[in-house]
């Protein structure tokens, strides 16, 4: 399990013990992962000190697109997929315990970092309900919020209901804090509609906006945080201090929330390991590389993953929170045209 702890030593000890437990479980319960570990001659007995965590075999995301990797009864799990629009998607099998762990992290972080409670906020989710989201992980899991807090979803049948969203925002009672939630691309659609209608709002100062998901515009061009923030100010009257991004991907069972310094914090029980592009050895803190992680919060699949992202980690933050801080840089580019050479078909390699 993951949780926020305040003492550096405590974080280290807890992270080691939780990941050790988790590794032993997945080694025992997931056959393909066990074989992979055996190939690397890494067994639970090898986990003696914290540094040994860096040697735990990690699974590249491509494997989740090719194989069923599961440590539980697959039929009792929810199959969660990435929202990838090109090629195959990752399939992650989550049991109830794993989903619950994810949601508990959200609830704990929302309370601790933003003072949000079940009673004091109203969530305006630009995505669909869990029922409508199908298997797409982020949409599915945010759709679950309605079971925890007062939530309204604004995506129905794939249609974003901007008009209703704006009407609801205008009519929202002042005794609850507004929480706006959605992928950057969905917010861009809202702004486009607002622009066309010549509308802008001035939302209360205690409003909080969360974005989660890919940073690409409709045209495929990358969006920047600064550009989006400017639009929040223009259309919602919201400043940078009220806007937070959340990092998550389908293979990870723990979201990273931004603190008031806009740093993404990693709870204890989760270890981000940044690796050198060539050697895949761990790099020192602060240096950029391939992001990989060891997440102890999953019981139904080994969440020991090499991601498709470039980033770095540091320790501690001016906000006072201890532990690892994650800095996202960009996605890894593995699709590149090289002159007249046609790359061998994926199915052949």
């Amino acid at each position: 399990m993951v949780k926020f702890l305040e003492n550096e030593n405590e974080i280290r000890d807890y992270t080691f013990s939780e990941i050790k437990k988790s590794f032993a479980h997945h080694y025992q319960s997931c056959e393909s992962y066990r074989k992979f570990c055996d190939f690397h001659e890494f067994t639970p007995e090898k986990l003696i000190s914290f540094e040994d965590l860096y040697s735990i075999p990690q699974i590249p995301t491509s494997i989740f697109k090719s194989l069923t990797v599961c440590s539980a009864d697959k039929d009792s799990c929810k199959c969660c997929t990435s929202s990838g629009t090109k090629g195959a998607v990752s399939r992650i099998y989550r049991d109830d315990q794993t989903i619950r762990a994810f949601l508990e992290t959200i609830v704990a972080d929302a309370g601790r970092m933003y003072g949000l409670t079940k009673e004091n906020c109203a969530v305006f989710n630009l995505g669909p309900s869990a029922e409508e989201a199908g298997d797409i992980w982020l949409a599915y899991v945010t759709g679950f919020l309605k079971y925890a807090v007062d939530t309204c979803n604004y995506m129905h049948g794939g249609v974003l209901e901007t008009e209703k969203l704006l009407a609801d925002l205008k009519g929202c009672s002042t005794d609850k804090r507004i929480v706006l939630l959605g992928a950057p691309a969905l917010f861009m659609r809202v702004f486009s509609d607002m622009d066309a209608a010549g509308v802008s709002l001035q939302l209360p100062e205690n409003t909080v906006v969360f974005t989660a998901g890919g940073w690409k515009s409709k045209t495929g061009a990358p969006l920047t945080r600064e550009a989006l923030c400017g639009l929040f100010t223009k259309y919602f009257g919201i400043g940078d201090a009220q806007y937070f991004d959340v990092y998550n991907q389908v293979e990870s069972n723990t979201p990273f929330f931004e603190c008031r310094c806009h740093n993404k914090h990693i709870p204890a029980g989760f270890l981000a390991v940044v690796r050198d592009p060539v050697t895949f050895e761990k790099v020192e803190d602060g240096k950029e590389g391939v992001v990989s992680f060891l997440d102890s919060s999953s019981s139904s699949y080994p969440a020991f993953v090499i991601t498709d992202d470039i980033g770095s980690v540091t320790n501690g933050c001016e906000c006072g929170l201890q532990g690892q801080v994650f800095h996202y840089v960009r996605r890894v580019r593995t699709v590149e045209t090289k002159g007249c050479a046609l790359k061998l078909d994926q199915k052949m390699a």
Binding site: I59, P60, S66, L67, P277, V278, V332, G339, C340, A349
Partner: protein
């Protein structure tokens, strides 16, 4: 650290042309500053003299190219030194690989007879370019298309050399669109022509330019001005220019293609087979369409094959050090290694990821593209029919060993789209008589003809006596009262 800036002039009709505004091409530790094309410069490019090169004899053109080669033989020739110094900093390829590209260029242009032989193989008769040759009841001649637009890809320096030489020996004028990825190779080659003779019609038949892939104005302008387009590149590049190719303009596409090799290991009689495979994988750092990406091998001692192949990869890395790639490339290779190891396949690579050999025992796709950069997949096959499953119209070159297997498989391979069946170990240079991608010089000329007078009959056919009674060909003025028509051929 401030980057070094390389200010380069445009080359228009062989002359260096400066400009007021510049485009900046950024590299790791270098910037190329190159004049932006404006209306005046574009007009000057189109004004290149087509008559002067047209009026040269082929032998004069190949003599000129031979003199260019003499410059490039000299390791101290300033432009060669510049290519060796800056080329690797621009493309990431090693200096040794540039040296190899120059070596292949010199093979191409050092021998006048070799270039003339190429014309013979591909056009049938070199005299066609200079003369009107009698053929049956006429005389034929090869006219250049006129103005060629070459879109050069940056994966292999040789691409630009090869494309330009073929444009020149067919007496065309040539507009070269340089590649950002390997800007200097073709550019310096073109510049060296002026060192032989700045006023030679060959020198004046070339312009070396640059525009970006989103520069629709220049793409449209030069596409519309071309009589022939020779485009090297991937799907997007080919599509971008093909869609703009004017009616009546010849469109020649090189790529995107892939290549592989098929080995009957038990019957192999060449001791250094694995070393030769490693050579084919390593040359051009595997970025060419003719570079093998997969080896299909049938045999009883595959372990021996794998070990010797790896030794070969190590040896060729010493001869031709690996290119300097982006971080993404190495990450891609590592993803592949980890993914295949998860599947139970075995992957071998050196510490610096200069090469990677993966033995595919579990065929489950790992949803990753081939990263190139000397990555070779080895798949064991049980029979050679299985190899045919890997062949389609996208496969260009298939290296085969031993010789007997070439004969056995060639029809099935070429029927499926393969254009070249190669010996293992010299994939970078098709043997004399073959032509890259099967695209001959015929495509760069128009075969024109003039009939000899009607009474001339080097060739005639025996028609049945009453044939022209039944099928009237011509009418003839006749005197009043006579029947019309029924004019026979003789």
């Amino acid at each position: 650290m401030e980057k070094e800036v390389l200010n380069l002039p445009l080359i228009i009709g062989g002359k260096e042309v400066e400009g007021e505004h510049h485009i900046r091409l950024e590299y790791d530790d270098l910037v190329i500053s190159f004049p932006v094309l404006d209306d005046e410069k574009r007009k000057a490019v189109l004004a290149m003299d087509q008559d002067s090169i047209h009026n040269l004899k082929l032998t004069e053109i190949v003599s000129f190219l031979q003199r260019v080669s003499w410059l490039w033989y000299d390791e101290n020739y300033p432009l060669r030194k510049k290519m060796m110094e800056y080329g690797p900093r621009i493309s990431g390829q090693s200096a040794e690989m540039y040296k190899h590209n120059i070596a292949v260029l010199l093979q191409l242009i050092s021998f006048k007879t070799f270039m003339e032989d190429i014309v013979d193989w591909e056009l049938g008769d070199r005299r066609l370019l200079d003369e009107w040759i009698s053929r049956e009841n006429g005389e034929i001649h090869a006219e250049p298309l006129g103005r060629l637009l070459h879109i050069i890809s940056g994966n292999v320096p040789l691409v630009g050399f090869y494309s330009l030489v073929r444009g020149l020996i067919t007496k065309n004028v040539n507009i070269i669109k340089l590649s950002q990825k390997d800007f200097l190779s073709t550019y310096l080659f073109v510049r060296s022509f002026a060192d032989v003779d700045p006023d030679h019609p060959v020198t004046k038949a070339i312009s070396a330019l640059y525009w970006g892939k989103d520069d629709i104005e220049n793409i449209d302008f030069f596409s519309n001005a071309a009589n022939g387009m020779i485009v090297w590149g991937g799907f997007d590049t080919i599509r971008a220019y093909k869609s703009r190719c004017p009616v009546g303009c010849e469109f020649i596409e090189y790529g995107p293609k892939k290549s592989l090799q098929i080995i009957d290991y038990d019957n192999n009689d060449v001791d250094q087979l694995e070393l030769n495979i490693a050579r084919d994988v390593s040359v051009f750092d595997q970025e060419a369409c003719l570079s093998p990406q997969l080896v299909l091998v049938k045999g009883t001692d595959i372990k021996r094959f794998m070990i010797r192949l790896m030794k070969g990869m190590i040896s060729y890395t010493k001869l031709w050090p690996g290119a300097k790639h982006t971080d993404d490339h190495y990450i891609h290779m590592n993803y592949l290694i980890e993914s295949h190891e998860y599947l139970g396949n075995i992957a071998w690579a050196d510490d610096d990821r200069n090469w990677l050999v993966v033995k595919l025992d579990d065929p489950t796709p790992v949803n990753l593209d081939h990263p190139l950069g000397r990555t070779i997949f080895v798949k064991e096959i049980q029979d050679f029919d299985e190899a045919l499953e890997y062949i389609d119209g996208h496969v260009q070159t298939v290296g085969i060993a031993p010789e007997s297997l070439k004969l056995k498989l060639r029809d099935e391979l070429t029927k499926r789209g393969v254009s070249r069946i190669a010996n293992i170990g010299n994939v970078d240079m098709p043997r004399e008589g073959l032509v890259h991608e099967g695209i001959t010089l015929n495509r760069l000329v128009r075969l024109v003809g003039m009939e000899k007078e009607s009474s001339y009959h080097a060739k005639s056919y025996d028609y049945p006596d009453d044939y022209f009674d039944q099928f009237i060909y011509w009418l003839k003025w006749v005197k009043k009262g006579e029947d019309h028509g029924k004019i026979l051929r003789k």
